[in-house]
């Protein structure tokens, strides 16, 4: 079976197709949105000024990707993109739980003891994963999504190269850096699995050819990539300590994030800002 769905209107006609598409779009949108929110908290606090500027461009690009997915959802009739980004509760969010994790100790306004090792490991793991998933949806049966994926892929290599270089350099530098990076890798190993998963509607996503590969293949391809970079692979299987964000299971860190990112929006939902 091979079908191409050209418009939102046609997608809406098949409830099973629509449901799987909607879930996939929320995964893509919420992943990019929450990780770029964490990136925006880093602004002004990076290890040196030049890196601060470079990292912020990646963050802006990534939020720009989220906007494209929210716009696709808006076209589908899910509501206004700004409301989708700012006005959905934690249990409606479909981002991987690891991606919502706080940047470290403290808050961005107060005692921001953020951890660069977490930033490096998380962003490298995420960008490696994003490449695998984007390539698999660049041939999606939903044409508007395939088009967005191709665009995002054009911007992705810089992001990927950026974090790959950081993790490579830090992994082979001072003893302290090696230790900090390795600790964050071990930690991620227990928490990253749901990022690689497709959630409750994963089978439908594959059946409807919204995505070219299933979650086992996503996981395999991702492992192939990180194997080439990690100096010491953690023992044991990948875990999802916080449950599955793909099915709406989240931590209190997401509540904190939503409270911050929607603070002004929630102060007056009728206002035009």
């Amino acid at each position: 079976m091979s079908k191409i769905v050209e418009t939102a209107e046609i997608a809406r006609q098949d409830p099973s197709y629509y449901q799987a598409l909607r879930e996939l779009l929320f995964q893509l949108a919420d992943d990019d949105f929450i990780i770029s929110f964490r990136g925006s908290e880093w602004l002004g606090l990076a290890p040196h000024i030049e890196e601060d500027v470079a990292y912020s461009s990646i963050t802006q690009n990534t939020m720009g990707h989220a906007v494209m997915y929210y716009n696709l959802l808006e076209e589908l009739g899910e509501g206004d993109a700004n409301f989708l980004a700012h006005d959905r509760g934690a249990s409606d969010r479909r981002n991987g739980a690891y991606l919502e994790k706080r940047n470290g100790e403290g808050k961005y306004l107060e005692e921001p003891y953020f951890d660069w090792a977490l930033a490096v490991v998380r962003n490298y793991f995420y960008e490696s994963f994003k490449k695998v998933k984007l390539e698999a949806i660049s041939t999606s049966s939903y044409k508007p999504l395939a088009n967005v994926a191709k665009k995002v892929l054009m911007e992705h290599p810089y992001h990927f190269a950026h974090w790959k270089l950081w993790i490579k350099q830090l992994q082979t530098s001072s003893e302290e850096a090696k230790k900090r990076i390795q600790n964050r890798i071990e930690e991620a190993w227990e928490e990253f699995l749901d990022v690689l998963e497709l959630g409750n509607y994963g089978n439908e996503m594959v059946q409807h050819q919204l995505i070219a590969i299933d979650e086992e293949t996503i996981k395999g391809n991702w492992l192939e990539e990180v194997k080439t970079v990690l100096v010491a692979m953690p023992e044991g299987p990948l875990g999802k300590k916080y449950g599955s964000g793909r099915n709406g299971e989240h931590t209190s860190d997401l509540d904190q994030a939503l409270g911050t990112l929607a603070e002004v929006f929630q102060s007056d939902k009728t206002a035009i800002w």
Partner: protein, 329 residues
């Protein structure tokens, strides 16, 4: 505040005699509107004035990112989130440009960016008065983008023809980007001004709070007011063209009509344009308070320095890790 020249006055006079010829050639170039480059001969007081000006300018951009940054993750729409992020990123970028210019000037004294950061944290290097103030509401993000940046644009454009080439080139880049910043600020303000009662209320409240700091932005009108004005040397060496008061007047002329056109007021009932004198009349801000603020005794001085210090110290291991030979990629 300044401690970059430790060779003292005793040396200066002998040095001056010996270099009288060079000094005259230098002044001829300045008068002719030529640009001085980092490795050109320059008199010590020119170099010191530039270091003081540009390091303060650069570090103020870095510190200035913090009050606005408070609203970056909170911006109310996707477009606003992206806009303010790009804007604050630019401020960090301006800091980068300016610190590079300052670093090259400090080289003969063996000073680096590390020293500038340490001077900031130990209180030797000051940052601009406005960045010691709190940003309490989203309207403050607009106010900083519109009027604080507006004041900065007035003083930066005034140095676009500065005699020091690297600074002038950095300002050229910066002022080009400021066009976007100005419009970004206007855009936030316009939405609030045309918004509902709540939005207009936080906008007016924000302007009321920022007004004295905006007047202080340009510094006192004469040296007597705070006793440390360096405006004359800056004008003689063609680093800037106008006095503090001329810049403040220019700011009031450009922005007050726009402020009033939005139905906003300023918290000074005496403000008016005097046609005969061709200048704005306004109530002087509290210059004693200004002195306190720039001595890191402003409302948010300690907190901002603390954030900067944590960012600097907490990430030291990252910079240190890069000292070793990295892998080739």
């Amino acid at each position: 505040m300044y401690n970059y020249v430790e060779d003292g006055d005793s040396k200066t006079s002998a040095y001056m005699e010996q270099d009288q010829e060079k000094y005259e050639a230098f002044m001829t170039r300045i008068e002719a509107g030529e640009k001085i480059e980092a490795d050109d001969w320059m008199p010590a007081d020119y170099r010191q004035a530039l270091i003081k000006l540009i390091s303060m300018h650069g570090i103020s951009e870095i510190m200035g990112a913090l009050p606005e940054k408070e609203w970056v993750p909170k911006a109310p729409t996707l477009k606003r989130k992206l806009g303010i992020m790009a804007k604050v990123q630019d401020e960090m970028g301006h800091g980068q440009l300016l610190l590079r210019v300052a670093e090259d000037l400090m080289k003969p004294y063996g000073k680096t960016r590390e020293d500038l950061m340490e001077d900031l944290l130990n209180g030797d290097l000051k940052f601009h008065n406005v960045f010691h103030m709190p940003t309490k509401t989203w309207a403050d993000a607009g106010m900083v983008g519109w009027l604080v940046d507006g004041a900065a644009i007035i003083s930066q454009t005034n140095m676009l023809d500065a005699s020091y080439g690297p600074y002038q080139r950095a300002l050229q880049r910066i002022c080009q980007e400021e066009v976007f910043h100005a419009q970004h600020g206007e855009s936030i303000i316009m939405a609030l001004a045309e918004g509902n009662d709540y939005q207009r209320e936080i906008l007016q409240e924000s302007l009321n709070r920022w007004w004295p700091a905006l007047l202080m932005f340009f510094g006192p009108s004469s040296a007597e007011t705070t006793g440390s004005s360096k405006q004359d040397i800056m004008i003689n060496y063609k680093i800037r063209k106008s006095t503090n008061e001329e810049l403040r007047q220019a700011f009031l002329s450009k922005y007050l009509p726009r402020v009033f056109s939005l139905g906003l007021t300023v918290p000074d009932e005496t403000v008016r344009y005097d046609e005969k004198e061709e200048k704005w009349i306004y109530k002087q801000p509290d210059w004693e308070e200004f002195k306190q603020i720039i001595r890191n005794k402003g409302p948010r001085s300690k907190e901002r320095l603390r954030v900067r210090e944590i960012a600097y110290e907490n990430n030291r291991w990252v910079r240190q890790a890069l000292a070793t030979d990295p892998v080739s990629v």
